[in-house]
Each structure stands twice: as C-alpha cells, then as structure tokens.
C-alpha cells in the first residue's frame, strides 16, 4: 500500500470497503502545521498508520475504524471549533488529540459537556489535575520531569540548583512545577532566569547564574532551539556544574543542534528514545521497538516521543472499546478509567478514578548524551 492510499485513510476508502456495519469513529485535532508542528506531524502520521493497521487486521467488534482528523495549527480557538465539529457533526465515539496544552484545555469543556471520552496528547498537569470525568492524557507531566531531575541531582550530591527557562507555555508551566516540587525533593532553587522565544543569545543569563554563589546544578526548561543555544552558551562561558535539560528536547535534533556542547548533558525521557539499548527484560522493550520499526519503516524519519503519545492514546482508546464491548461513551469512559498494566511507549499505565494519566516516575528514564548519542544512566 503506498503513501497516497495511506493519506486517503479517514476518507472514503473505508466507506467502500467496510461492510454495512457502522465504523468506529475516532476524532482528532492536532497541530500538524504551525509552531507546534513537530508535535502534531508525527502524531497525525502515527494515528493514520495505526488506524490503517487496525483495519487491515479486521478492525474491532466487527467494525472498522474511521479517523476524523483536523489541523488545529496549535491555535486554541481553532481547536475549539474543530472539537465542536467532531462532536456535533462527525459524531465521533472518542477523541484522541490535542497536541498542546492550550488546545487541549480549550477542548476540555466541550468534551465534558458532551460526554465524549477525550484522550489528550499534551503535557501539562492541569489537564488531569483536578481530575475531569471525561478527560485522560498519555504523556508524562512536567512535574514528573522536574522530580526525576531533582532525584538525579540529589543522587549526585547537589542541593542548590539554578533554573533557566524559556517564555513559552511549556517552559513556563514546567518552571512553575519545578519551583513547586523543588523543596519537597530537597533542592533549593538559588537562581531563576528566563529567555524569550526568539532569543539568539543566553550568555547574559548564564553569566548571572555562573556568578551566583553555590550553584551545583542547572536545569533548563524549554523546547525548540532555545535549549540548544543555552547548551552552547553554557560550554562557551565554561560553567562546570552539570546541566540538565527537560523532556521537551528529547529528540536527536537537540543533540545535532548542540553538537559537542551537549556531551554530558542529562535529561529525563521516555523509553522510546533508547528503544534499541533497553535490556530485553524491560517491560516496554517490545512495545517501543515495535512502534519504532513501524513508524520509521513507513515514514523514513526518526520516531519522536510525541508520535508515541498518539500511539498510546489510540491503543488506550481501542483497549477501552474492547473492554466496553461497544462504543457506548459512558462504558468506554469507565473502561478507560479501569485500565491497569497497559504497557505503552510512554510507560506502564495504571489508570484510576483519581489518576487519569496513570504513569509514575519509572516511566521516565534518565539519559545522558555521550558521543552524540543517548545513554541510559544506571
């Protein structure tokens, strides 16, 4: 099956091949273009690929899947419009989407009011805290990333850390979460700097950190080119304290952009990034290597954790519909909440009425950049 046919998935092709049975309608809105395209692009590809695979394997409950996907371009207002359309016009059974927290939060009230199970692919804690009846999410939260980093800092004997973060939504949310959980993890934040979205030089902020007494480690919360510039500037002005990055830059691109400056940098990331180096005993080994093979085989581009979130979201929805034995929305919701021990690319998921994400700190692996590649920190 060629690429063009793949693109037609979600369109008419299913209507022709499917039997009289009504298809299972999966709705999605993703930032396929715009500033968050690096999230939405692999997510969309993943959904298309696996809907096709599921249908090739006969679908579920004797029904095929049909994908309704819209490009919300990272814009919360557009996302709201598309979610309305998904619910009212396309009458989807479940929504798997929302690349960014902004888009997700714009969609939450609609999904709640309509009673449509909604699995978000965005990061922030606010999506599932406080728990919302119909809303679930697959990615790790920024709070977990902070805690993972702080635990590692303590293990290396550091108690005083500096924070440098960007001005984007992800960056600011992670900064706030880190400040919140620092004391609980025995870390004192002694410097707190920031930089703008289009900034080209962070030596001023880093010089300030360098001249702050007692800094034993530095954490950079951000994504995009900012963290790579921070990394290069960090080496340029010669700060010796260890540098940590966030899961926001957990892609090979960060290593490529930062070059030699990235050596020794640590960051928390999903197992997917080190799929090939995971020990065979790792529970996630099979899932992550399988997804990596499927995705890279089809699209000739490297997997990202973001595509993995979409994989987890879709598979959780499929599992819930299987357990519910129908697409009855309330039954699917209850089934989602009861999923325990599902092994995904993001970790082992144990949902509960209090936890609509179901991941713990073990879902994050601490990685270190060595010789231009990721290494698992034991």
């Amino acid at each position: 099956m060629n690429f063009r046919t793949l693109l037609a998935i979600g369109g008419l092709s299913i209507a022709f091949s499917a039997p009289a049975q009504e298809p299972i309608r999966v709705g999605s809105f993703l930032a396929v273009t715009g500033p968050a395209a690096f999230l939405g692009d692999p997510e969309q590809k993943t959904l298309e690929l696996y809907i096709e695979k599921l249908n090739a394997a006969g679908g579920l409950l004797g029904r095929k899947f049909q994908l309704f996907a819209y490009d919300s371009a990272g814009d919360a207002e557009k996302a709201r419009g598309y979610v309305k359309r998904l619910i009212e016009q396309d009458k989807v059974d479940v929504i798997v989407g929302g690349s960014t927290t902004g888009e997700t939060m714009a969609a939450v009230p609609l999904a709640e009011a309509a009673g449509t199970p909604f699995i978000s692919l965005a990061g922030a804690v606010v999506i599932v805290e406080p728990v919302k009846k119909w809303v679930f999410k697959t990615p790790h939260t920024d709070r977990m990333a902070c805690e993972k980093v702080f635990v590692d800092m303590r293990a290396r004997g550091a108690t005083k850390a500096a924070l440098i973060s960007g001005s984007g939504g992800f960056d600011r949310s992670m900064r706030a979460e880190c400040l919140k959980v620092a004391a609980k993890n025995g870390i004192q934040i002694v410097a707190d700097e920031s930089y703008g979205a289009g900034d080209t030089d962070m030596t001023a902020q880093l010089t300030k950190i360098k001249n702050t007494a007692g800094v034993q480690a530095v954490l950079n919360a951000g994504f995009g080119q900012g963290p790579a510039i921070v990394t290069k500037n960090y080496r340029q002005i010669g700060i010796s304290a260890p540098l940590y990055q966030s899961h926001g830059v957990a892609s090979k691109q960060y290593v490529k952009l930062s070059g030699d400056a990235a050596e020794g940098v640590r960051l928390p990331a999903a197992a997917l990034l080190v799929a090939d180096t995971l020990p065979d005993s790792d529970p996630q080994k099979k899932v992550v290597t399988g997804y990596k093979r499927d995705f890279e085989g089809r699209f000739k581009q490297e997997v990202s954790t973001f595509g993995g979130h979409a994989y987890d979201g879709l598979m959780l929805a499929v599992e819930a519909i299987r357990r519910a034995g129908s697409t009855n929305k309330a039954a699917v919701r209850d089934a989602l909440e009861s999923i325990r021990g599902y092994v995904g690319t993001g970790g082992v998921v144990n949902m509960s009425a209090q936890d609509h994400m179901g991941l713990d700190l073990s879902a994050f692996r601490m990685l270190e950049v060595r010789n231009g590649d990721w290494m698992l920190v034991k």
């Binding site: 700097e193 900034d199 001023a204 010089t207 001249n211 080119q225 510039i229 030699d260």
Partner: protein, 291 residues
C-alpha cells in the same frame, strides 16, 4: 564583576550588529518607497535556511553563503517586481499590507520548500571560545561584527560613489524631482528590495551558527530590527546602526543586571520613550545624509 560586564557587552554587541543589519534593510526600502517592509525578517530567514540547506546538501560553506544571498536577493527582487511594483499607484498603507502578506506567504513557502525543523549552520571558523578579559566569545561573533562593519562600509561607498546609489539617495530626498531629472523610480524600487534582501540574508547567515535557523526565525529578528530602525530614526543609515547596537546592549545589560524575565520590556519601554521624546528617533531628520 568586570568580567561579567564584559560578557554582557559582548552579547549586546553581537545581538546589536544583527539588529543593525536588519534595520538597515528597513531603512533602504523605506527611503526608496516610504514602505515599511514587514517581509524583512523573512529575508533573514531565507538567508539562514538556504545556507543551512545548501550546506546539508554538501556544498562548501562559502558557496552556500554566496548562493543563499543570491536566493534571497532574487526573492527580494521578485517581491518588488511582482507584488509591490504592480500596486505602485496604491497608498503606502496598502503597500505595507502587501509586504505583511508576502511575509506570511514566504514563511509558508519555506515550510513547503524546506521543512519545519530547526537547522544548524557550521560556524565559519570553529566553536572554540576565545577568552577576552575574563569574558568568552565565539569566533563567529568576530565574523558577525566584521561582516557587519564591512557591509556598512560597502553601503556607504555604494550610496556616495555610484550613480545607482546616488539615484536612490535622490529618490529618498525628493521623489518627484528625481523623476524629473531622469532617475528611474521603478528601478530604484527594485534595487532597494534586492539590496535589502541581500543584507537581511547576510544577517540570517551570520547569526545561524550562533542561534540556528528555522522557517519562523525571521519573525522576532524582523520585529527587533524594526524596533531598532524606529529607535534610530526610520530611513537613517547611521540611525539604523546606532539603534541596532543600542537595542542589543539594552537587552543584554537588562538581562544581566535587572531581570531576564523583563529584558524585552526594557527594550520596548526605551523605544516607547524615544518615540515620545524624540519622535524622529535618534538620527531622524537631524541627519542630512540618508542612506
């Protein structure tokens, strides 16, 4: 603390030199047509992206630099020829809106022709930092400062010593009079866009090894360059350079000594103050010679 000050000054000068190049592009087009070209940032992006993609495809760096400046110049020429010039009878506001549209189009084209990823460009002469008075600078910074100085010198020669340059100055002083003595206003417009695009591309290439480049890299640099041009006085060459350097220094010193969270606020506050107290910018009007 003097080493910290030196570091802030170096950071400010580097930023400032790039802002100055972008601001000069604004000034040249403004002089030729009274249009504020909001696609100036996109010229910066095209320069950086084209160079990065050429290098990735295996071209040696110097050829990539030449080709990418050439690409941007052609785009600038095409923008003037096919978008601005056909609407020459329209009001200046209409022309400005055309450039905003062109900026959005160029950004979209960049994501299609190239991609949405962030691209690195190798530094011209290595990444080994140079230690200077307790501060460190990358060799690329010397390239930025040197190339900016060279570009400014060449521009000054062009406007004062060549017929085309003098014709452009004449149009900026008095369009009608220039037309009456036989200067082709149409040609001046085309040359001004091509020249601005080349300058923008140069800025984009120089900064790419330090700050990387992507399809949307021009948005913020364009905005800062515009702010620098306003600060210096729209249409003034020396003003654009002074405005750019001042803006870069304010940002770096603000981030270093005050608060990095508000560094852009300081920069824009100072521009607001300049507009209130010096409505023509630092060098507007008072300068008799316009670049």
């Amino acid at each position: 603390m003097s080493s910290a000050l030196a570091q802030y000054l170096l950071a400010g000068l580097t930023l400032g030199a790039i802002y100055a190049l972008v601001a000069l592009g604004f000034a040249i087009i403004y002089n030729a047509s009274h249009v504020i070209n909001f696609a100036q940032g996109e010229f910066v992006m095209i320069g950086g992206m084209a160079a990065a993609v050429f290098v990735e495809s295996g071209l040696p760096l110097y050829l990539a630099v030449i080709f990418s400046i050439g690409t941007a110049t052609l785009v600038g020429f095409a923008l003037a020829r096919f978008a601005v010039e056909p609407a020459r009878g329209a009001s200046v506001v209409t022309l400005i809106i055309i450039t905003i549209g062109a900026a959005i189009l160029l950004r979209g084209l960049a994501t299609l022709v190239w991609d949405k990823k962030i691209h690195p460009l190798p530094a011209f002469s290595g990444d080994q930092p140079i230690v200077l008075g307790g501060a460190t600078l990358l060799p690329q910074v010397l390239w930025v400062l040197g190339a900016t100085a060279l570009a400014v010198a060449l521009l000054s020669w062009f406007f004062n010593r060549t017929l085309t340059g003098k014709a452009m100055l004449a149009v900026s002083h008095n369009r009608l009079a220039a037309q009456l003595v036989g200067v082709s206003v149409r040609r001046v417009l085309l040359v001004s866009f091509a020249l601005s695009a080349a300058l923008g591309a140069l800025a984009g290439i120089l900064i790419a090894p330090i700050a990387f480049t992507s399809w949307d890299a021009g948005v913020m640099l364009g905005l800062k360059g515009f702010a620098a041009a306003i600060l210096g006085g729209l249409g003034s060459g020396p003003g654009a350079i002074a405005g750019g350097l001042a803006l870069g220094l304010i940002e770096a010193l603000g981030a270093g000594y005050l608060s990095s969270a508000y560094k852009d606020v300081f920069a824009f506050l100072i521009i607001l103050a300049a507009l209130v107290f010096l409505p023509n910018g630092l060098f507007g009007r008072r300068a008799t010679e316009r670049v």
